[in-house]
Structures are given as C-alpha cells and as structure tokens.
C-alpha cells in the first residue's frame, strides 16, 4: 500500500512507453500547475494536444506544485526519474525570486537537479524567469541572469522566459496579477511548443 503512488506513477509512464508514446515531465511551480484554472486548460495539457496534433507522440505530465521553490528541485527530479521519462523540463525559480531567496542558492539547487537528470541521458529542458521591477533594478537583473548562466554551465536547452507575452498583462492573468488565466496558458503552451517542437 505504501508504494501505491509510486507504482501508479510508474505504471502510467510504462503504459505510455508501451504505446510508443514518449513522456515529458514538467517540474514546475504554480505557473505549471495552472493555479486557478482547470487541469486540461493549463499549458502542459495544451502542449500535449499541440504535440499530438503535430504528429509528435508525446505524453506531457504536469508536475507543477504551487509555492514550490528550487529547494524542491532535486527531490522532485529524483521522483520523476523513477518513471524513466524521455524528457524532463525544469521550470522552477519564480517563488525563489518572489520570496527574495539567495540567488546563489537558486543556482546551486537548479544546477544539482539538472546534473542529476543529465546522468539519465534523457532530454533536459530548462526554463528561465524574470522578476518584476518592484523588486529593484539590481535584484531583477541578477535574478534574470542566473538562469542563462546555469543553462550555459550545464549545457542544456534553454527557454529564457516562460511568461513571454503574458506577464503584467491584466487580460492574460488572474485577479492576483501573478498567475496566468486560460488565455495566458494558451500563449505559454505556444511558447513552449515553439521551443520544443524541433527538439523532441
């Protein structure tokens, strides 16, 4: 009983393999989870539809956890790798910025997670994030620079900004001004699709 969840996770991925469908797991935060919107309307589900519509047989697993920081990255990558996915996308770090956590720690956490995933010789995709100007010019600059720095050091495919064209647009975000709404997720799915389609 104790390993119920692990077996379910493993079996669902195994079925995907059996059907010749490859698996992409997106490890992220509330932006990936689709906070406030239905699971089918969050960008991982929309991305799966787009991939399948374009003839790419990929199953996308939404492993977004609201409020999670880069500190959870290593543990979650370990968990994800147990199901032998074909690709892994890491989209964490926004909450580190919003909580003002040390950027050196952010870099360390994400690098460790990527290094672990790389050992499995699977496709790794890494997603960057920007901070709003109220966090101060210097912090915002240092924060946004951290992600390309990690991508360069770890030599992984890098998407510079998940919320490109979505951030700070009230029409594309929920009332909290932070989380994208259904329209925002459509744009995010398109951004990620354009980034992935030639790489999968």
């Amino acid at each position: 009983m104790k390993f119920f969840l692990f077996f379910s996770f493993f079996i669902s991925c195994a079925f995907a393999h059996a059907e010749n469908t490859k698996t992409l797991i997106i490890i992220g935060d509330s932006l990936t989870e689709g906070y406030g919107i239905a699971k089918e309307q969050a960008y991982p589900a929309l991305l799966e539809n787009k991939l399948q519509d374009s003839g790419l047989k990929w199953k996308v697993t939404n492993s977004g956890v609201s409020g999670s920081t880069s500190a959870s990255a290593l543990g979650r990558v370990k968990w994800a790798l147990k199901s032998k996915p074909d690709a892994l996308m890491i989209a964490l770090g926004a909450n580190d910025g919003l909580r003002g956590l040390k950027l050196s720690q952010l870099e360390k956490n994400l690098s460790k997670a990527i290094q672990l995933a790389k050992k499995e010789k699977i496709k790794i995709f890494f997603v960057g994030m920007l901070m709003p100007p109220n966090y101060g010019t210097q912090y915002a600059k240092d924060f946004s620079a951290t992600f390309p720095k990690i991508a360069k050091a770890e030599k992984v495919d890098f998407l510079p900004f998940l919320l490109e064209g979505v951030a700070a647009n009230p029409k594309l975000n929920l009332a909290d001004g932070i989380h994208p709404n259904e329209e925002g997720h459509k744009i995010m799915a398109e951004t990620v699709y354009q980034f992935l389609k030639s790489k999968l």
């Binding site: 009983m1 104790k2 390993f3 119920f4 969840l5 692990f6 379910s8 996770f9 669902s12 797991i25 989870e33 689709g34 906070y35 406030g36 919107i37 239905a38 699971k39 089918e40 309307q41 697993t61 939404n62 492993s63 977004g64 956890v65 609201s66 409020g67 999670s68 920081t69 880069s70 500190a71 959870s72 290593l74 543990g75 979650r76 968990w79 580190d96 919003l98 909580r99 003002g100 956590l101 040390k102 720690q105 956490n109 709003p132 100007p133 109220n134 966090y135 101060g136 210097q138 912090y139 951030a167 700070a168 009230p170 929920l174 009332a175 909290d176 001004g177 932070i178 709404n181 259904e182």
Partner: protein
C-alpha cells in the same frame, strides 16, 4: 370618577407586593439590556481596533476611472476612508539584502485602531499620514535589526534615499493581508511612487480602506458593493469576514447577546404575565360585586384595567431604581476583572421597552382574561373560591395583539429576523409542549393511589390534580422559566468550547514552511540540539481534486467565458488545488464531528477525513469518493469522517487528511511548529542560515492579538449568562412568592378545619416540590434540545452539554420555591384564620 374609584379600591398590601414583583422582573430585563448594549459596543470597538479597518477594496492593478467613480459613490455611506499601496521589494543594506513589504500610506491612515512606534508611541487613527512626511520611513523592529538600521540611519529604496524615523512595534492594518513573509516599511504614498518601483509591470496591491458605523454590517455592505464590480480582479473584503474564524466568532457573540436579551425579555414577560394573571384572578370577586352594584360591563371591566395600568406605571420607576442598584452591584463585583473598560448606562430605548412591557403588556394580557368573565354568572364569581375563567376561541384570539407586541419586541432585541423567528417558534413549541406535558402530569397524579399516604401528602396530590388550570399555569410558568434560564448557559458552554483559551505554554512561537524531504531529519536534529522540539510535523502533498463520485469537480472556462463574477470566483476556487496531508491519528485540536475513525484496514481505496466546514462548502457527504490528481497520478479515496478543528490551538491543520499508506511516496514538503523557548531566536537564525528556503513565520503577535480577543469574548459570554441567570431567579422568585400569596386563603381554611401548621406546611411543601421538580426537570431537558437546535442553526459548531447549570436550576428552583413558601406563609400563620377567610381578596 372611574380612575378615583379604581385607585381607592386598590388593596394596599397585595398592590405593593405586585408592584415589587413586577419591578424586580423588569429590573432584570433592564440590566441585561444595558449590559448587552455596552458589551456589544465595547467588543465592537475592540474588534475594530484589532482589524484596522472595516472594509477594504483592493486590486492588483490601479483602479480605472469608472471604478473610482463607483467607489466615490460608496464612500458616501462610510465614516472615513484612506488608501495605501503595497509591494514587495529587495532592499540592500550595508549588512545584506532582504525581502521587504513596502507600504505607501495615504491621508487619514489608519482609519481604525492605531500604529505603535518605538519612540513616538501610539499614533492614533487618521494621524499617521500627517507625521510620515518628507523622506521619513517607519520600519518594523525585527527588520531594522536584520538590516542593521537605527533611527536616523539612511536607506536607499529604489531611486530614493530615506531616513529611518522610527520603529514600528504594532501595526493593526496587517489583518487585511494574509501572513506576510517579510518585514514592513511604511512611507508616504507619494514617496513610494518616487522610488520608481511602481511601474506598469510591477506587482502591486492598491487598497482603499473604510470605516463604517457598525463593523457587523461590513459583510453585507461588502456583498452589496461586490455586485457593482464585474471584474473579479476587484476584491472587496469585510474585516469581520464571516469566513475568518475571529469574524465568525464575533458574529456568534452578537447573536448570543441578542439571544440573551430575548431570554431576559421573555423571562420578565413570563413573570409579568403570571403576575397579571394572578392579580386578575383575585379581582374577579370585585368585578362581580361591581356588576351586582349596577356598573355596566364596560365600567366593571375598565376598573381592573385602570388598576393594573396604575400598578404597572408605579412598577416602572421602581424597576429603574432596582436596575440601577443591580448594575452598580455588578459593576462593583466585576471591577477588578473587567478587561474591557465598559461604559455602562441605561439607554433610553431600554426604558421605553420596559414601559411597553409593563403598561401595554399588562393591558393587552388583561383584555382576554376579562373578556372570558363576560359569560360568567356574578353568583359564581362571588363565591369565596377563586374561579378559573372559561376560555374559548375568541378569548384565545384576543391574545394575538399581545403576541404581536412580543414578536416586535423580540425582533428589536435580537436585531435579526432569523434569531427572533427561531426563538419565537421554539418558545411557542415549548409552551405547547409544557401545557401538554403538564396536563399529562396532572392527569397522572389523579391515578396515583394515595390512600396509604399520610394526610398532608395525600392532600398535596389531591390539590395538584384537582386545581386544574392553576396548577397547569404554575407548572408551565416554572418549566418555561427553567428552560429560559438554562438556554444561555447551554449555549455559552458550546461557544466557550470553541473559543476556549488554549494553554499558553503549548502555543507555537513559529511556523516552519517548505521543509524539504531531505531536510526534515536535519531540521528536527537542529531544533533538538537547541533544547527545543519541532512539533506538529505535517507532510503536505499538493493535489488537484478531479471528481466527487465521478462527477467532474474542476470548472473549465467555456468559449463564451464566465457569465458572472461569482461563477468565475467559484471556478478559481475549485481549480486552485488542495494541500493534502496524511496521518492515522487525530491531533488534540481535532475531533470527529461525524463518521468513523480510520480503521487501518487494507482496502484498495484510501480513507479520507475532511474538515466539516470545508465538506459543507463543497457539498461532500460521508461515503463520497474523491479522485485527486497528484502530479500526474490519479488517486481515489472514500470520505469516512468529518473533523472539527479547534482553530484556537494555532496548530497547522489541513482540510483533507488521508490515512497513512497512500501518500508517503508522493513528492511532499513538511510543515512544523516550534514552541516558545529561550533559544527561539538562535533557532531562527540557524534555520535561516542553513536552510534559507524554509520560511519561518513569527506567530507571536498574531496569537497575542487573537488570545486577547478570545478572553474578552469569553468574559462577555460569562457575564451575560450570569446576569440572565440572576434575572431568571428573580422572576422565579416572584412567581413562587405570588403563588404563595394566592394560597393564603386556603391555608386559613385548612387551619380553621383543624389542620396543624406542620401538616399544612408539609402538604404545601410536597405540592410545591413536586411541581417544581417535575417542571424543572422537563424545562431543563427541553433546554438541551433547544440549545442543540440553536447551536446547529446559528453557531454550526461543537455542541457541549453543561450539566452544572441544569442540576443547579432544578435544585435552586426547589430550594427557592420552598424558601419563598416558608417566608410567604409566615404572614398567614401570624393571622387568625377567620381574619384571612373574611377578607379573601
């Protein structure tokens, strides 16, 4: 002429007793009414000061011109208003960089309560913005310490350099935000814009706050205002938010105070009605004499009405004097333990209510009684035995004006249609029940074989069963009295159980969030090394609720979008995911409301426990199957119980709890709490140094404010219950006294027939004890049932039976009844039987 005649005919001794009894009952009502109003306003002020404002309109974007125009319309209904904007920013000091919450305050800030500063002391409401000018900032003490700043230090925020003017030691305005992760810096609204941190891409909260007359009206007002805004990004919140635990308790307390006033009103009215009835019974002979002497029926009926009105009028000033004495006495008793500094004064409206009950009530209650005498032969009325009037449908219909008067008074006292309605319905049901039960009880007495009993006991049984209406009236009056008397202590016990002040030694000092799986053992060890303990460790697994009994739970946005603001809010709530936890046992702050405990059986499907209010909101029933999505894996569970969670424990709690064995392998984080200890600051420092991802939330000030309000609520509950209890006994005393007085003639008759005083005393004592015991038992029994219903309807919380007041009310009714009997009879013993027999009125 009639007036003079009525006045002359008033019998001195009985009239004095009547006036005294009526005044006693009314004085109790006045005391309750006075304390209720004073406590309510005092508690309201306390709560408002803690909450910082009554209403807030906020958005995460600037308000549009159209919205500002709508808001200006609303502002007309408020007492004062202010605004502030908040944004998070990273601040670099010479020591290190920190996340801070910048708060730019507008004119008139804060609208409620005060801000306490280290040097300047208390800054009263409305005055902060006038002091915080130029390039001054106020900074929270712990943050200043972290940034190594002193008063007079300079600090660059964005593009502007500020001077630290003072340290904030208390800020009531924080309640409009959930727990914040950082320290706060206050500056003027204008200066926050000068930092250049507020740009179109910035994440900023724009908040307008309002002060209104009555904070309890904030929620309906917020609902009303919400209708005007279609954009869900505009948030309108009442400080006394019914969804918040303290807001819910304040609203319960207001309902409780309303119920106290209703109970006092009915106790006093019951006493008054009983007095009017017995007085009128005694006047039936005079009424007959008047008719025989040639007075018209109209004139004959007018005389007792005038007399009762005159006596009631006399009782009113006496009741004020007695109430004044009672209030002085209570004030004297509570002086040293009064935490609220309440200002007591008898309100004019309370005086008016007393006047209405005594004068209008007496007249309205007399009419049906006097009407019932119309058909009776004066010869019957002239007999020395006081005869009971004959009731028919018309007579009963004549009670309707009196009922309407009491319904209106109830509505005023409760200040809620719901409470007044439920209370009146409960009382009508109870009265009918007591009459029925009383009738059955007296009929049963007739069948008791009394032949073998001693004469006084046999006589007591016979008297009770033969005196029909009179015994039934006394039985019902005592039962209703005991019911009313017990209602508040029963409700108080249930409410107290919910707001019971926790043992302060067991209160946490810090909450720890976001402890990773690979960190938990290290954190436990670190805290232990510092001679403390990480407690209430709770795993937290993030999940989406996909379906309830295979019915889709999440709400997708359709092509045409959401039709209403409410529809969108509901969808956002359903789609935002839930935090699950798992463990097999309940914590000390939890109890099972319904359903069964986890049974540890090896079922394929997990067992789930839900917090009962959460289940109610989602319309989930016991046995329902919930399907969750945990990061791509679907997991089902069956709801086996609903839990109540004692929020005053300040422990981490979860709406959804799984049994062990299903979620252990899911990606999860941990929460925990640390108790107060000497090493607490050291632990905090070490945690932030070694595990910067762990959020350490200081609960000290939140808990202290919460506890302060809790103690005041407790105090109010206790005080009101005691005052109402006192009023109730005064009323019961006056009923017993009146009953005793009414029987003087019979006592004398028995004496003249050769009965000894001892025999008569035993007979009356058995009779009265039997009546009091049975009526008291029934009244207290029904009070449990009614308080359960009222708790269920109004307080939706735990129900607790308070056994002490139940036993006490039955015992005291018995003791008081017999005491009054002894004292009341002493006068009859002193008189010669023929003296009483010759003058029965």
């Amino acid at each position: 002429m009639l007036l003079r005649h009525a006045w002359k005919e008033l019998e001195k001794k009985f009239s004095i007793l009547f006036v005294l009894n009526l005044a006693l009952g009314l004085s109790g009502l006045l005391a309750v009414e006075t304390y209720r109003a004073s406590l309510k306003s005092s508690l309201q002020e306390n709560a408002q000061n803690i909450l910082g404002a009554d209403l807030a309109i906020s958005a995460r974007r600037p308000f549009t011109q159209n919205e500002i125009e709508i808001i200006s319309e609303f502002q007309k209904n408020t007492l004062s208003n202010s605004e502030f904007i908040e944004t998070y920013s990273m601040i670099q000091s010479n020591k290190e960089s920190r996340l801070v919450l910048l708060k730019g305050i507008g004119a008139n800030f804060p609208v409620r309560g005060f801000i306490e500063l280290h040097k300047k002391g208390v800054i009263e409401s409305g005055k902060a913005s006038a002091i915080l000018t130029d390039n001054k900032i106020w900074i929270e003490s712990p943050l200043a310490e972290q940034l190594n700043l002193d008063i007079g230090s300079s600090l660059k925020i964005g593009d502007k350099v500020f001077i630290v003017d003072d340290f904030i030691t208390s800020d009531p305005t924080q309640s409009f935000r959930s727990l914040t992760l950082s320290g706060r810096i206050f500056m003027s609204l204008e200066n926050l814009y000068h930092t250049k941190l507020i740009r179109p891409e910035s994440t900023v909260s724009f908040v307008k706050v309002y002060k209104i007359q009555n904070y309890l009206e904030a929620q309906p007002l917020a609902d009303q205002w919400s209708q005007k805004f279609t954009d869900p990004s505009i948030r309108i919140r009442a400080a006394s938010d019914a969804a918040s635990d303290s807001g819910r308790m304040l609203s319960y307390l207001a309902d409780f105070l309303g119920l106290s006033a209703l109970v006092a009103l009915f106790l006093s009215s019951l006493g008054a009605a009983y007095l009017f009835r017995t007085w009128l019974l005694k006047r039936t002979k005079v009424f007959a004499i008047h008719q025989v002497l040639g007075f018209s029926y109209k004139q004959a009926i007018s005389i007792p009405i005038i007399q009762i009105t005159l006596l009631s009028l006399l009782a009113v000033p006496l009741s004020y004097s007695l109430a004044f004495l009672e209030i002085r006495l209570i004030n004297l008793l509570i002086q040293s333990i009064n935490p609220m500094n309440i200002n007591i004064s008898i309100a004019p409206i309370s005086i008016l209510i007393t006047l209405l009950i005594s004068i209008l009530g007496s007249t309205l209650l007399s009419v049906p009684f006097l009407f019932s005498l119309r058909t009776q032969n004066p010869k019957e009325l002239l007999s020395n035995f006081i005869s009971e009037p004959k009731w028919n449908i018309i007579t009963l219909l004549l009670f309707i004006p009196a009922l309407i008067l009491f319904a209106l008074l109830s509505l005023y006292e409760a200040q809620s249609y719901r409470i007044a309605g439920v209370f009146l319905a409960s009382l009508l049901f109870s009265s009918a029940f007591f009459f029925g039960a009383g009738y059955a009880f007296l009929s049963l007495l007739k069948k008791v074989p009394t032949v073998k009993f001693a004469w006084p006991i046999r006589q007591a049984f016979l008297y009770l069963s033969r005196s029909g209406h009179r015994s039934l009236a006394a039985f019902s009056a005592i039962a209703i009295g005991v019911l009313l008397l017990n209602l508040l202590p029963q409700l108080r016990a249930s409410l107290s159980a919910e707001i019971e002040n926790p043992d302060q030694k067991n209160l946490p000092a810090f909450f720890l969030f976001d402890i990773q799986q690979d960190q938990i053992d290290e954190v436990i060890r670190l805290v232990k090394e510092k001679k403390s303990k990480l407690e209430n460790i709770s795993p937290m697994v993030r999940a989406r609720l996909l379906s309830i009994n295979d019915e889709e739970f999440e709400r997708k946005k359709r092509a045409e979008g959401f039709q209403t603001r409410e529809e969108e809010n509901e969808a956002r709530f359903r789609n935002r995911g839930f935090n699950l936890s798992y463990r097999n046992n309940l914590r000390s702050s939890e109890s099972i409301h319904s359903g069964v405990e986890f049974n540890h059986s090896k079922e394929e499907i997990a067992q789930i426990s839900l917090e009962q209010r959460f289940a109610k909101r989602l319309n989930i029933n016991l046995g329902d199957i919930l399907k969750f999505d945990i990061q791509g894996v679907e997991l089902q569970g069956r709801v086996v119980n609903f839990r109540t969670v004692k929020w005053t424990s300040f422990q981490p709690n979860f709406f959804v709890l799984f049994q062990e064995g299903f979620l252990e392998d899911a990606p999860q984080i941990f929460l925990g709490s640390i108790m107060r200890s000497k090493e607490i600051e050291e632990i905090r420092f070490e945690l932030s140094r070694l595990y910067p991802n762990i959020s350490v939330i200081d609960l000290k000030s939140t808990i202290e404010k919460g506890l302060d309000l809790l103690s005041k609520m407790q105090w109010c509950l206790n005080l009101m219950s005691i005052i109402v209890l006192f009023t109730g006994f005064v009323v019961l005393l006056s009923i017993a006294n009146q009953q005793s007085e009414l029987r003087a003639w019979e006592v004398s008759l028995l004496q003249s027939l050769g009965a000894h005083k001892k025999q008569i005393f035993i007979q009356r004592s058995v009779e009265f004890s039997l009546l009091c015991f049975c009526a008291g038992l029934l009244g207290s029994g029904l009070s449990i049932f009614l308080s359960w219903i009222i708790s269920w309807i109004f307080f939706e919380g735990t129900f607790v039976i308070a056994f002490t007041p139940l036993a006490l009310s039955v015992a005291l009714t018995l003791i008081l009844g017999n005491l009054v009997l002894t004292l009341g009879s002493s006068d009859s013993w002193r008189k010669q039987p023929n003296e009483v027999l010759n003058n029965p009125s």
